[in-house]
């Protein structure tokens, strides 16, 4: 039996002494998992907790069966952070941005090889931006920039993709383009964990839903068995309402 891709045991994550998300779960190979919930529900904190990007206050996290702190082959993990824009003060081409996703596999010092360059171009093609490879990221639309970030996450040859709100603020056409790119990756056997405010065009892709509110997991199971009100919990909340959601509603776990 293979180890889970991600395993969290009694995990509590947060900032300072403040617990912002707690969970006990496993993500298995080839699962497409949506972390759903309103703003401030702890879904981004939980995602970052899986990567060690926020403080782990309690419990343990394992990646591919190894404790997070000892896990070395980070190229297996592709991370797409939530960004309004992928552009910085200095112009950066799509190709340059995506190349930076290759470092986890290539190493810091070794020169770029043809294989590296092929992987970079393949990642750019996978998100449908091949014709934009030489363009500055700042000249792309918001949705195209988000796709460039997905390509960066794929460039190292990731087996697991963790995406934080990839559809937020993206127009319909680009939402569909992102969904199509992820769909193609799923066919290739990738595991996906995606933070979403609403399912949108990813609904048909997602196999498992983890619904959160106020830092707690309220439901964890196949998406078709999830109570509809939990799938749409994000819609009932004031977008600026923070952790205003109900606390202690109990855990549905199937």
């Amino acid at each position: 039996m293979t180890s889970p891709v991600i395993s969290i045991r009694d995990g509590q994550f947060g900032y300072g002494n403040q617990v912002a998300a707690q969970a006990d779960l496993e993500i298995n190979e080839n699962e497409i998992v949506a972390l759903l919930g309103p703003n401030g529900s702890g879904k981004t904190t939980l995602l970052k907790g899986m990567l060690g990007l926020v403080e782990r206050l309690e419990g343990s996290v394992e990646l591919f069966g190894e404790p997070l702190n000892e896990f070395e082959d980070r190229s297996l993990i592709g991370y797409v952070p939530q960004r309004q824009t992928a552009a910085g003060p200095i112009p950066v081409t799509v190709r340059e941005l995506v190349r930076s996703g290759r470092l986890a596999r290539k190493g810091l010092v070794r020169r770029r090889s043809r294989e590296d360059e092929r992987a970079v171009l393949a990642a750019i093609e996978a998100v449908g931006l091949a014709d934009k490879a030489p363009d500055a990221v700042s000249t792309l639309s918001g949705g195209q920039q988000r796709r460039a970030l997905v390509a960066r996450a794929l460039a190292g040859g990731a087996k697991v993709l963790l995406l934080d709100e990839p559809l937020a603020g993206v127009d319909q056409a680009n939402q569909i383009a992102i969904a199509e790119a992820l769909n193609a990756l799923v066919s290739g056997g990738i595991t996906i964990v995606v933070v979403l405010h609403e399912l949108g065009p990813l609904e048909s892709l997602v196999t498992r839903a983890i619904c959160m509110d106020a830092g707690h997991v309220l439901f964890d199971g196949p998406i078709d068995t999830a109570p509809p009100r939990l799938l749409h919990l994000g819609h009932d909340h004031d977008p600026h309402g923070g952790d205003a959601g109900p606390v202690g509603m109990g855990l549905f776990k199937l």
Binding site: E72, R83, P89, P91, E96, G101, L103, P134, A136, L162
Partner: protein
Amino acid sequence: MTGVIRVLEYGFMRRALVAAVLVGITAPAVGIYLVQRRLALIGDGLGHVAVTGVALGLVLNRAPVPVALVTAIIGAVSIELIRARGEAFAEIALAMLFYGGIAGGVVLVSQAPSGSRNLNQYLFGSISTTSAGDLAMFAVLAVLVLCVAVGLGGALFSVSNDDEFAKASGLPVMRINLLLAVLSAVTVVVSMRVVGVLLVSALMVVPVATAQLIATSFRQTMAIGIAIGVVVSLGGVILSFYADTPSGGTIVLLAIGLFVATFLTSSATRFVRR
């Protein structure tokens, strides 16, 4: 052309021109990562800290450059460690370090046998006083900075561009940030004879800011930024020789003038193309 040849007749000017090329290359090569990290003014802060080092060297009657180098590196590492804590007091702590650096320099230099006269050379640059020993040290440091900035360019870019992604990719983000801080400190020291510690930040930022107006990629920005850095450094030194003006101020004004001209030209070009 004859003017340039006349400049080369003087030994101090030949040294000055070599120092200007070293600074013109290294300052934008490091500055580009600071600009990308939105820390364009960190070089300014390091310059303030280096003032204490220079003053300490003058008080101890030792060569100010190595003492300034050690002080600037300690300052740079402290700044990065304070920033990394990311706490609310970080900005205030940094301000304390900057003000403390220049205040410490002013107080220390008042006890130096030579008084504050020598400090001015380091504050605003005095390229004509660059000794052969200084030049040799600057050359070694500049080559070191360039080797690291180019050799680890991919890692420096990744961390400067998106440190959260870099951390998720398993890059040693803290160590790379510390490395960039040390590179910045060394660049400040390499530049202090040419533009002075109070103006060094300008040469790390302005050529890069000018380059990004016309470049379409990071690599291109770095290449154009370095070319601009060399041109304004050399031009400023030659101009200051004939106009009898301080080299540091002349170089920086030239760099800013070039930025304004490029900005106006690129804006006008975009307007016409619409």
